[in-house]
């Protein structure tokens, strides 16, 4: 509890979103969202389906660029650079902002190759030894090393769902990002695997800034320090998770949390 008090005193904003709006063609999906994300902590985005939380998440690593009709307005500042500017190279950005997706999506390659792919394309390992170290370290940080250390050359698709998702986390970590974006990482997993990954996220927040989109309020309550509630593309409330779940200030938030809407 003393640790909490210390970090409360010095929250550092790692990411600042300023009036971010997203359009799919003519349809506006996100309306002028502004918030600051603290460094080295977990922030969650909650809200009913279609509220724009995943869209907002994808702004942080420019994955919305991949969708042809998508247009992002506004600024997202990290280390005093606006990520949304056309001058920023998405490839470079994604080496600093990693992503884990809803459905575990390991490449149909070996476990080793999956983790090694990111460092390889960015040239982070000078030789085989360094790569071995990166792979082992990433798997250890993802809590998967003990389970796969003897089957690094087996196909990744042979692992269980929870293991595959941890592999995807290891793969994202291997590139050494500052920020990890997680888009409903546990929705395809059973409760035990979900708990294991939530515990992992708790550990990881000491090293990474983590943004997690979740449709489970309970998960946001368990895992995150700060929570943002979205509804129909607007940011309704953003604050400490403890406050949001015991005394939300906005009655829309209250209604959602209590299960009265969406």
């Amino acid at each position: 509890m003393e640790m909490d008090a210390a970090t409360e005193l010095m929250p550092e904003s790692k990411l600042k979103a300023h009036e971010v709006s997203v359009f799919y063609g003519e349809k506006q999906a996100l309306f002028d969202v502004s918030l600051n994300i603290n460094d080295k902590s977990v922030t969650s985005f909650i809200g009913p389906s279609g509220c724009g939380k995943s869209t907002f998440l994808r702004c942080f690593n420019r994955m919305n660029d991949v969708i042809p009709s998508c247009r992002v307005q506004g600024q997202i500042i990290m280390d005093e650079v606006n990520l949304n500017s056309p001058k920023v190279d998405p490839v470079l950005l994604r080496a600093r902002v990693g992503m884990v997706f809803q459905k575990p999506n390991p490449f149909p390659k070996t476990v080793y190759e999956n983790v090694a792919y990111g460092p390889r394309i960015h040239g982070l390992a000078a030789n085989r030894q360094e790569m071995d170290f990166i792979v082992e370290d990433s798997l250890k940080k993802a809590g998967l090393w003990k389970e796969v250390s003897d089957r690094l050359n087996d196909q990744a698709t042979g692992l269980s769902g929870g293991q595959q998702q941890r592999l995807c986390i290891a793969r994202a970590i291997a590139v050494g990002p500052d920020v990890l974006l997680m888009d409903e990482p546990c929705s395809a997993l059973d409760p035990i695997a979900t708990s294991i990954i939530e515990e992992l996220i708790s550990d990881l927040q000491n090293r990474f800034t983590i943004l997690i989109v979740t449709h489970s309020m309970q998960q946001a309550a368990r895992v995150s320090k700060k929570t943002a509630y979205f509804h129909l593309g607007k940011l309704i409330e953003y604050g400490d998770t403890k406050e949001i779940f015991t005394r939300p200030q906005n009655e829309q938030t209250e209604a959602y949390i209590s299960g009265k809407i969406g």
Partner: protein
């Protein structure tokens, strides 16, 4: 705690913190009560004043426990034994805070008795009653710490002793007051003090019931053994 650990270490930490807070409150309450009983005999003014001001600490701690319990329920959505643990912590904290209030009340009345300066006070039994009640509190908090429903039940049955002692003391004070009208004021306070101690004995059994609920999921089936006959005393 022999219970299995949760996958989420934060959850374990929260429950542990809640537990520790309740135990701290328990220690504080027992100390307050102990001090009050001792001060009945010594009538040491400074001790009494200190006790009265200390009561604020218990209030604060009870508020903190309340806050923590709400947090655990909102954020962790506990079930089964975890849920009972949180609810029991809430209830026991309230009981302990009221115990502290009674201790403060005893101190206040002791001050008045001391200022009145009466030598002739029947007080033999009250010390003894206080002792029994204090032991009940101590044992029941042990039972809470160890999740020991057997010990709790045993404490639960001890309350009858306190009730008996209270009834006896009550009659004794009434007799004193009847003999010497000057003692009425002091006697009235003594009656209240005795009542407070008896209530504290009841509180200990309340805590014991909560411990039983925590361990077994239900309060004890038999009705609480009660032997307080003071409400039936008519004349001397």
């Amino acid at each position: 705690m022999e219970d299995q650990q949760h996958i989420s270490t934060a959850f374990d930490k929260d429950l542990l913190a809640l537990n520790e807070m309740v135990q701290e409150l328990g220690s504080l309450a027992i100390v307050q009560f102990e001090t009050a009983i001792d001060a009945l005999a010594t009538q040491h003014m400074e001790t009494l004043d200190q006790l009265i001001s200390n009561d604020a600490k218990l209030d604060d701690l009870e508020a903190a426990i309340h806050e923590k319990a709400v947090e655990v329920i909102a954020l962790r959505a506990p079930h089964a034994k975890d849920l009972r643990q949180v609810l029991v912590a809430l209830k026991i904290a309230t009981i302990l805070e009221r115990t502290g209030d009674y201790a403060r009340n005893i101190a206040n009345r002791t001050k008045v008795i001391a200022q009145a300066g009466n030598e002739n006070i029947p007080g033999v039994n009250i010390g003894r009653m206080g002792q029994v009640a204090k032991e009940m509190l101590h044992d029941v908090m042990q039972a809470y710490c160890r999740h020991d429903a057997e010990l709790a039940l045993e404490v639960w049955r001890r309350d009858i002793e306190v009730d008996h002692m209270h009834t006896a003391f009550y009659k004794e004070v009434l007799a004193s007051m009847a003999r010497d009208p000057n003692l009425v004021a002091t006697g009235a306070h003594l009656l209240f003090i005795a009542k407070n101690i008896e209530r504290i004995g009841d509180y200990a059994t309340g805590i014991a019931e909560q411990v039983h609920f925590l361990v077994h999921g239900a309060v004890p089936e038999d009705s609480r053994p009660k032997a307080d006959r003071t409400s039936k005393v008519v004349g001397v």
